[in-house]
Amino acid sequence: MKYRNLIRRTFLWLTVIGALGSATLSQGQAEPLRVALALPGSISDRGFNASAHAGLMLIKERMGDDVEVTFSEDVQRPDFVSTLRDYAARGYDVIFTHGFQWSDAIQQVARENPDISFMNVYGVGSADNLLNLDVSNEDLFYVLGYAATRMSESGTVGAVGGWEIPPIRIQVDAFMRGVAAGDPDVDFRSIFTGTFYDAVRGREATKALIDQGADVIAHMADATGLGVIQSASEADVLSIGYFVDQREVAPNSVATSAIINVPEMYWAGIQSVMDGSFEGGQVVYGLGTPVLAVGPWGDMVSAEVQNETAALVQDIVDGNVVVERANVGVLMEAEINMLE
């Protein structure tokens, strides 16, 4: 009897100590924040999808063991909803998606999972826990169109778009208006390839533009754009990169890039989740923020062009120049009708 009591007491104390111990331990190592990212394309596109992957890696780098990250790439449209539901079911705290085409899927899954924070770049879906990360495309691409007229010697400027979804349409239109504002005598030619993933088509589209006399060609086409830059580089004409500084793709051709700093957008989003201020809606980053900028210039671009472009950027930031906004409502309605 005596011994049994002792054993019982010891067991009791051990349990208490154990419980206390594990409580202090778990206080020291809080559950890591679990962050997931779903991408429509490959992270090897050196642009749109690569920038999102870089954003996820930035979160991992800055938060270390306090965060656990994962991602899926090349997710096909029919799998959008199931991919997001899978992440939700596996207990992820923050779910990012990348691109306008996710709008429906992320809205649906966000409404099903009110405790999870959802963020989507270029999205239009709405839910209390869905934040759409956006940039003022009109301003940036207007400036680039303007700069293109200053760099063109032939008097023809071109653009290659991917699939015509509202963000791409807005970018191409703004670029066109920038060209018209820079020099009304410069011709503007554009081609939509209908795909973000076919670099060979990007190449052929670029050849067609060069054949029509274009000597500065911008792309808004993700991996298709790699073919645009490659083809421009071969023909020794200038090109404008997309999303990240793409000079290293073809140093002889990439004059500048449209920088849309996705990692900084992601980081701001994660910080709002960490300090509890996260809420649904839309945030739009403009020129003058670290997110949106005209990229580093190639060596072939004169200081005059660089200064003139910088002055236009400053004018837009100061409000001296107001760039016409795209009629997003009309574009969205057309697109949403198409999706349904």
């Binding site: 390839t193 067609a208 054949d211």
Partner: protein
């Protein structure tokens, strides 16, 4: 009208041929395979493997020609697997082809990242440059349009009469047709339909691999995930459109290439036609010609049916 005339230049013809060439390689492979009685939905995946291995071969052997051969051989190797599953194991040919396409997408993206790494994936490898014919290349209009292409383009178009001759004028062609139309009769006169089919499937993989390597070594000079982007399926359509005849297949590919080159240029000059319509043009045109050309399009009788003794 003036805009339309301005785009019908030598560069337009050159682009048509350039766009038709990868399709032509795969189409010739498809024709050979289907005439022997095996459906090859996996052309797309075999092209993708050919594109990747072509890049690897060219980089490590430092020669686009050797790289191209590596691409051709790897396409053939994937086809060997298709043949094993469809002919030896007598499994469903469609399922095997679809599986090959899916595996190819994952495998190629995975391998390029392992071997070249994510940051350096699009490194430019030794590649083919266009070869202007000495005299013919000098002829105005015709020279730049037809005789200033990559060597591979000439090879692809040379393969049309070669495969036509093999299919319709040689004993081999007779054996292939017999294996595809009535394998039992073929077996009764001493032809081994399974062997004939194996050879044809492997050759179709080699052709598809050539088409893929043409895309990577002839056009892009690097490998990009999923870069074949549906061309294998267009080739399948060209096989049927061309009525299982290499010459017909070539015409189908040329129509498709020309329509694609035309729509790019139509968009570039801004003819005021919505680009969605332009993007549809190659497909719509193919369909229209199929309807107008009419007539009976007859597939090999034993296509898709595994041979049992």
């Amino acid at each position: 009208m003036e805009a339309l005339l301005s785009i019908l230049n030598a560069e337009f013809l050159a682009a048509s041929i350039r766009l038709a060439t990868p399709l032509l390689f795969a189409t010739l492979g498809g024709i050979l395979c289907e005439r022997s009685g095996v459906i090859n939905i996996g052309l797309e995946g075999m092209m993708l493997v050919g594109a990747l291995m072509g890049v690897f071969g060219s980089w490590y052997l430092n020669s686009p020609t050797l790289g191209f051969l590596v691409g051709v051989l790897s396409g053939a190797l994937v086809a060997l697997l298709h043949g094993f599953v469809c002919i030896s194991l007598r499994s469903n040919q469609i399922v095997s082809g679809v599986a090959i396409n899916l595996i190819a997408i994952g495998l190629t993206s995975f391998l390029i990242r392992i071997v070249f790494g994510l940051a350096d994936q699009q490194r430019i490898v030794p590649h083919f440059n266009s070869y202007p014919f000495p005299v013919l290349g000098q002829i105005p209009f015709i020279g730049p349009a037809f005789f200033n292409q990559l060597t591979l383009v000439y090879i692809a178009f040379l393969m049309v009469p070669v495969s036509w001759f093999i299919l319709f004028k040689s004993r081999w062609g007779l054996a292939i047709t017999a294996a595809g139309e009535h394998p039992k009769s073929a077996a009764s006169v001493g032809i081994d339909p399974q062997f004939v089919r194996h050879v044809c499937v492997v050759l179709s993989g080699a052709f598809a691999g050539a088409g893929g390597a043409f895309l990577s070594l002839g056009q892009l000079h690097f490998f990009q995930d999923e870069m074949v982007a549906g061309r294998g399926f267009i080739a399948l359509a060209a096989v049927i459109f061309g009525r299982w005849n290499p010459v017909g297949g070539m015409i189908a590919c040329l129509i498709f290439g020309a329509a694609d080159a035309l729509q790019f240029r139509g968009q570039a000059v801004g003819m005021g036609i919505p680009h969605q319509f332009m993007l549809m043009l190659p497909y719509a045109l193919t369909l229209a010609i199929l309807i107008i050309a009419g007539g009976k399009s007859k597939a090999p009788a034993a296509i898709g049916i595994p041979f049992r003794r």
